[in-house]
């Protein structure tokens, strides 16, 4: 699975969504992505890439797009492969 597929999978499994629902998705924007959902999402992202995110980044990952940016810029996750 590519890094992007893993990233998408974390959202799709936790929030019961389809891939086309992901762009534009925001924290607290849908009922599933609440604080409990966020905790699960972060846990899955961390284990997918074998990373530990800083508190600041856990808080900043508040949209689908921001997550891509944070992970590629700060944690060296390559989404272009």
């Amino acid at each position: 699975m590519t890094n992007l597929e893993q990233y998408n999978r974390a959202f799709m499994l936790n929030f019961r969504l389809k891939e086309e629902d992901l762009p534009g998705l925001e924290y607290m924007g849908i009922i599933q992505w609440d604080s409990v959902g966020h905790m699960d999402l972060i846990a899955d992202i961390e284990s997918a890439y074998g990373i530990q995110m800083d508190m600041k980044d856990v808080l900043d990952l508040s949209t689908y797009e921001k997550g891509l940016k944070i992970l590629s810029e700060k944690y060296g996750v390559n989404f272009d492969e």
Partner: protein, 424 residues
Amino acid sequence: MYFFERRDEYKNRIACIDDEGREYTYAELWDMGDALTADCKGVVVLECGNDAESLARYLALLRKGCPVILIGKTLEEEAKKAFRETYEGEYPVDPALGLLLSTSGSTGDRKLVRLSYDNIQANCDSIVVYLGITQDERPITTLPMEYTYGLSVLHSHLEVGATIILTNKTLFESEFWDKVSRYEVTSMAGVPYTYEMFERLRLRSQDLPHLKTLTQAGGHLSEELQKKYAQWAAETGRRFFVMYGQTEATARMSYIPPEKCAEKIGSIGIPIPGGSMMIAEDGELIYFGANVSMGYARCREDLALGDVNGGCLKTGDMARMDEEGYFYITGRKKRFVKIQGRRFSLDQVQEILQEAFACEEIICTGNDTDGITVHTSSRQVADREDEILQLFMDKWQVRARLVTVRYLEEIPRNSSGKVLYSKL
């Protein structure tokens, strides 16, 4: 005097600060509430959030003698409507009745716990004493107002004239932590999953010099987390309270004094001041105290009923007591699980699923750690796992990882057709 009558005593003190940073003195909060509820009569369903207007309305309704039913803003529209249609309006109610809360808020039934003004005040008084709450406290809201534990934080701090930081921000928003620092927040309350979030945010290594007290209730905290927080509190001069309660007892029934926390891992502690507990012959934990509710309501006629409990609550939990008088929960008498800080009746969940999938062969079991397992002997239902998970999410906001769907050849039953849950 009740806590909601202390306007003049604390009038110039700050009662709360809302999400916009507006400060409200006790006098302002009280007066705003009077203005907002001037036209209210009879039983009122109040949709609340952690904001000054909700708090002002709530306190004013208590003062006016209008029984209040608190419901959350995130409740399904259909359920909100049902509450209003069932209960709102002017009709005969018991004069002692002040507040009605949903026990689960989860499976969507209309059952409410009937609480008297004296129930609320009695529990509030006990909590102020054992937590040692003073005017200098500045708690921040971490739980919904309609949830008994969240509400008890408001009551007990208004009783002493403290300042509450009201916020609808979640732990995963930086604004929440900005507030914790800016307002020098002194205490936070959490259910078990709040503590999972604290861990994720590495709360124990954050620099929060003013944060002196953490409390925990709303289900069993893992022994690992209880140990970690007890140790952290002891090492950093903080207090960590593990507590036990139910809506049926207004909020709180027992607590572990913080100095005993590391020693009594897994315990629910000792009875709160003014309460007592015993274990019945069959092992059920029984609580006695002035905070035991008047009973349940299932329809509006029930609001005219008096106190049917007489200060005695059968908790439905099985327990044991150690030689120092500390209680430990060993199991449940009834079939329910407490997940995400809320109570779910397995029978009710099961019934809803049976109806939704038009299939009798669906049985739910579960525990507080792993969540709910849906057993079915229907291939068709098992193949619709996605829809089952979706239903849990849409209806009750239960996270996917707390639901497991399991196919089995046959649901185990005894000769008279009763499900053998122990065999599942």
